[in-house]
Symmetry: C2
Subunit: 263 residues, 2 copies
């Protein structure tokens, strides 16, 4: 019966994902555990040497740690207007680096309200712009086809559209990797890693741009780039997502239309 099929399909998805998580856990454990232990041991040595040099007790060191910890939160003032704008963008885009954290209870409460209103707004905006982007690409592709193939009414396939989206994504990643490498002095690989973690909206926050005090004479242009990278980058990803995931959802919805609200 159809509802059984849908249940088993869902169960298969869940099990696949769980297996994938277990495999991931095993791999990351293998990759990171050893390095973590080594670094941890090195650090202990460094702390012991330091404590001897400065003739410091364990509790004094703990106290010091707490002071330095708070200092880390203030490496740069984050909440001037442009920083707050970046914060708002990072919240709405669901990236959430955590480089700027509201300290006040009011800041936290407003963040909650701001996110609950803003996120649907953002999703609608991104989806709408992504859809327009697809239209633009189709328009341009048709022009090109008309010119070279001399057809009156050239058709654009979903595959051609997706290829263009993929190229645009690669272009965004390449541009981002280059610019962040240049202005943040990150290695190319790290800049690429940052771009990918941002465009997937994972946003670990281990690498965050705009944290230096000075970016030279064209610093304002770089700051504009940082914000536009999130806005346009996510739009390009959204327009591919528009085609890919929504197509899947549509298929899935159609397939289970008869069984939709049945068990």
């Amino acid at each position: 019966t159809p509802f059984r099929i849908q249940n088993y399909r869902t169960l298969a998805y869940v099990l696949t994902t769980l297996v994938y998580l277990v495999i991931g856990a095993a791999i990351f454990d293998r990759l990171e555990s050893t390095q973590e232990s080594i670094s941890y041991a090195n650090l202990q040595t460094r702390i012991d040497v330091f404590r001897q040099q400065h003739n410091m007790s364990k509790s004094e060191f703990e106290n010091l740690t707490r002071t330095v910890e708070s200092r880390l939160n203030y490496r740069k003032k984050q909440w001037k207007f442009i920083g707050s704008f970046y914060y708002a963008t990072v919240v709405l885009a669901l990236v959430g680096y955590g480089h700027a954290i509201p300290y006040t209870k009011a800041g936290r409460a407003v963040t909650i309200a701001y996110a609950l209103i803003g996120i649907p707004m953002w999703l609608i905006m991104i989806q709408s712009v992504g859809e327009r982007l697809n239209s633009l690409i189709t328009f341009v592709l048709k022009r090109i086809k008309r010119h070279f193939k001399r057809k009156r009414e050239p058709q654009i396939t979903a595959m051609e559209l997706l290829t263009c989206e993929a190229l645009l994504t690669v272009l965004t990643l390449a541009t981002g990797s280059y610019v962040f490498h240049r202005y943040e002095n990150w290695r190319y690989f790290d800049a690429f890693y940052y771009c990918l973690l941002t465009l997937t909206t994972i946003g670990f926050g281990d690498l965050v741009p705009m944290q230096k005090d000075d970016y030279g004479s064209i610093g304002w242009l770089y700051i504009l780039f940082c914000i536009m990278f999130i806005l346009t980058g996510l739009t390009i990803v959204a327009s591919s997502g528009n085609l890919l995931i929504l197509r899947f959802v549509e298929t899935n919805t159609k397939r289970s239309r008869n069984e939709r609200y049945e068990m």
Copy 2:
């Protein structure tokens, strides 16, 4: 003409979002800037006192800061199997707290590949389970209606379904807030703030559960809860999203079907 209308609609969405970002920037600047300056000044005093007490030069303090910074990365070993599982969950769910960060280049490369394969898998899984959850709720609601209203074929409206989803979301938030308050010693408000930031997938990482060394005799149950909170919480949000956002996208797609790939 229809394409003009769609372009203007998109432009209106973009402008609305930009205005909302500017308003947000102004509010967060206002809320956080003053507190930031005060805390920063307090901290400077604390550092000066500390340096005097320990007869420490500025560069020595900088060196110390760097040592303590690395120490913060190792507050707890994150990469044992269960920690790696939590990491994998946090990556696929797009939450990305950043509490555990791959140190090795291999770890970063594998994270990229893992995310690119896993995220579509995750989205399909979440969407499928969410759809099944909607079916289950409809089934239960029909049973209840049949029992109390004695109708043969009771109908369930989208509104009734959404109300149930909303209730489920509130229940998840309440349960989460209570459990995290109890086991992490967070204030209720902070636990609630954590739950909301996680279920929206923003995931700042300022509050992350499972960072203490010991959670008592039923610690394993609590760890299970932490992981299940992300898995089931996001499913419940996804099934509401299924109804709300996808309905919007469908309407939008239908509305612009004629104009879709036109400019």
